[in-house]
């Protein structure tokens, strides 16, 4: 058993366990914590695959921004003393069917794919390569994604902004 496979199975255990707990625990804040653990395990996989940049961005965006906002929402919505909420509703049966179907589809896709292994050595400086590709071959999808994010940002500001009415005095805010 090599260190790499040890790391792989360790991360797999962490990822699967944390994901299951994230959707099954009754305490919302704990669920958010398990979600962070799962996202962190995904970053670990990126490191194992020599994709350090993706790993760092995964942590930076998912843990540093998305998870913080999730926790923010959790802290604002639940009462402090009684953080336990129902984790299931009436649609648990339908959800289970969809989940199992999805799982089977993924397993079938995995079985029917042949996994070619390249002889090429892993890229050493893949940040540089990634940046070059984004700016040349994939510049159109890159720009479209940027414009989409900008539109989403402006949309969020418009939704969050107060209705413009008669000017209010500064003290009232």
């Amino acid at each position: 058993m090599t260190g790499e496979s040890l790391a792989f199975y360790g991360l797999a255990f962490m990822l699967v366990g944390a994901s299951i707990l994230a959707v099954s625990v009754r305490n919302v804040f704990h669920a958010a914590m398990y979600l962070i653990l799962a996202l962190f395990a995904v970053a670990g996989y990126f490191v194992l695959l020599n994709a350090e940049f993706l790993a760092a961005v995964q942590v930076l965006i998912y843990v540093g921004a998305v998870a913080v906002l999730v926790i923010f929402a959790v802290m604002l919505t639940t009462r402090l003393t009684d953080a336990r909420v129902r984790a299931h509703n009436e649609q648990v049966g339908a959800g289970l069917v969809v989940a199992v179907a999805m799982f089977l589809a993924i397993v079938m896709a995995m079985w029917s794919t042949s996994w070619p292994i390249s002889d090429a050595a892993p890229a050493v400086d893949n940040v540089r390569t990634l940046g070059r590709m984004l700016m040349t071959r994939f510049v159109l999808p890159f720009e479209i994604a940027s414009v989409l994010l900008l539109a989403a940002m402006i949309g969020a500001i418009v939704i969050a902004a107060k209705e413009t009415g008669p000017p209010q005095s500064e003290e009232s805010t």
Partner: protein, 352 residues
Amino acid sequence: MELAPVVDLVRDAVTGFLQSLGLPAFVIDMVLALISASLIAGFMAVLALAFVWVERKVSAHIQNRLGPMRVGWHGVLQTLADALKLLQKEDIRPAAADRWIWWWAPAVSFIAVFAAFIAVPFGEGLVVRDFNIGVIYIVAITTFGVISMLMAGWGSNNKYSLLGGFRSAAQVVSYEVPMILAILSVVMVAGSLSMMSIVQAQEGTMLGFIPNWFIFRHFPFGLIAFIVFMIAGTAETNRTPFDLPEAESELVAGFATEYSGMKYAMFYLAEYSAMYVMAAMGTVLFLGGWHGPFLPSWLWFAAKTVLLVCVLIWFRWTFPRLRVDQLMELSWKFLIPVAFINLLAVGLWSVL
């Protein structure tokens, strides 16, 4: 004397010894990693003790006081005595606290800063691991500090802690943007994210006497980036004038209100180590890292980081605290536009 050859020598000796025992390669790697980790943990502890003392002394002299004078020469052992006192204190857990979240919060805050130390180049060739994404790695891993504050704030089940946690999350998320933009202008000029390469890109001098550091390059845009970085860095480490998460006159001790003894000490340790990481990043990105004449590289690096830490201390004891709305306005309406324009200017300069 350079330290890197000595470190290499010791590492080779340890590796040779472990290989003679017939251990597999990954076990040897893990043992070496453990040794590095213990060295860094020890370094962090000493650093935090020293900086707490420096902070108290500098602040005292800024205010025309003497500061700690009793324990040791000019009170140098004062923080050691304080740490021993904290070690012996009873570990009180609030009855209504969320046990696990509450327990893990100080540990996470420590781990976040501890992991950042891996990529800090303390001198020429003196780095635990030179990631090719070093800068982003440090920024990413330190975001766990926010999570730890939110954990402490929520887990304590105390309104002051909760407010402290809220404030810290809003603050750190806001100030991360100008900080990354300031870092980006340096990364763009250096053409690399690795801490080592960024330092190597600042070797030599301009016009024969100005050091080729990024703070002096593309004048004045390098300087503007440095100022934005330092302001954002002060906010990231939750220090005055941006210490709203633990504003003692408003929130007792913010997210750390319910913590006592060793757990409180852990937060303290993480805070001062984070300050050092911020200073180290400022040194690497803008002040030429270990470059400097005559003295060995690690001494130059230490001198520059201590200088930046002293600047942070000087900020703390000179400026009054901002209000929450002023804090947000400074970030979103001033620092971010300035950082964006600066980034654009540096980019244009590099292209032309």
